[in-house]
Symmetry: C2
Subunit: 214 residues, 2 copies
DNA sequence: CTTCGACATGTCAAAGTTGGAATGTCGCTG
DNA sequence: CAGCGACATTCCAACTTTGACATGTCGAAG
């Protein structure tokens, strides 16, 4: 009926809500708990966003109020149109990779710090990753993988977290090491340069190894 | 009562600009090229954002117009205050981890698709990661690691990309496999259940009705 | 029966982000 | 010298995100 056209936007908040409602009907309040419980690290949302989105989705006919409860509670359920939209999003819209990585952005500018400060930053990153990893392990142990569908894909998403935090920690430790090596190299160069002032001539650079383009 | 004092905001765009200017003076146009070249995958920015931020930074005294060029070109340079702010951000503000992972969000809802569709999604993710990895390798080969400082930290950031894409691809392939296993398990259960009623049949299509009427 | 915490929804301002349009200059090439 | 492409800036409208504030109801404990 009402095909909304012209919109090619991502709008994943909308799909996160639809996705949660595809598993079971819920109120805005319930959804907030779900967002804070399972989607915090994947797609954070605030109350105002969730309630606002529910109203928009209702207007668009993608969800409907299935039941009214005690405190003005409105229990929403996904409609056929909503399910179709969710399927469409899952199968036909290419996902955008993770973007805006605050922690990595800093790495580009670590050069203005001393090597020691830079190392400290990287090691803190390693520790943060390690703690996140532990938290995921905790969830893994505590979670009740009862529902078959949720079980499989919930487990898969969790595994993503486990693997990424591991890689992150390893990378950060490796990077901290790199900084040490670079510092050592630089110290060596300085020593050579110093020697060079007394004996100027021998260049330590092996000629012909520098980038001559591609 | 409510005196608004002090901002605890993240504002990494600001720091991205400051960081780039800490390496060398540049115009808004130059910065745009840098954003598109090296920071695309870490902190994307549009023209309007960069030019707007430059004006705000100038007002705040964190950068200054160091020179005027041909086409109304304004070459900005970071000030001492700007450098201090950048250091402050690097050393004292805790980074926020990567958030809003579109691709992973979908994984949570893959249950509404058929196992085959879900697998297809995961394998596409694997390929995307592999392509990204190749792209990073390409950069690694082509990049001119001339400046010592940029060299070290640029290389470290690149390594992050290389490792993360590898992990991502491995995870996605593993996940696709998991789905196969789960399907097999489920098929087994179904067969057992069916044997109770009737003779077992080669179940290949789990009777998923596709939503007609689109 | 009063109070309190959990339940439940709604509204708002400010900041950040997106994508595009409008405007104009310089420098090279035909 | 006309035209074009790269250089260069500014402004804007729409949308998303954040965080706080406002309002009110139900149920159980004291």
């Amino acid at each position: 009926m009402s095909l909304v056209e012209g919109k090619v936007q991502v709008m994943s908040l909308r799909h996160a809500v639809l996705g949660l409602l595809s598993e079971s009907p819920a109120s805005g309040y319930d959804l907030m708990k779900l967002f804070n419980a399972s989607l915090t690290s994947v797609w954070p949302a605030t109350q105002s966003q969730v309630y606002g989105e529910l109203n928009k989705l209702t207007t668009a006919g993608l969800v409907e109020v299935a039941a009214h409860g005690p405190r003005g509670r409105k229990e929403y359920a996904i409609t056929d149109d909503g399910l179709a939209e969710l399927r469409h999003w899952l199968t036909e819209i290419a996902p955008t990779g993770p973007q805006r990585h605050d922690g990595l952005l800093r790495v580009f500018f670590l050069g203005i710090l001393t090597p020691l400060e830079a190392q400290s930053y990287l090691l803190t990153q390693a520790e943060t990753a390690a703690r996140a990893h532990t938290a995921y392990e905790q969830i893994d142990r505590t979670a009740e993988w009862d529902d078959e569908m949720i079980s499989v894909y919930g487990r898969i998403a969790l595994e993503y977290g486990l693997r990424m935090t591991t890689t992150m920690e390893e990378w950060a430790r490796w990077a901290a090491d790199e900084v040490t090596s670079a510092k050592a190299r630089k110290a060596g160069e300085l020593a050579r340069a110093q020697r060079g002032r007394e004996r100027p001539e021998q260049d330590e650079q092996p000629a012909g190894e520098r980038p001559s383009g591609d």
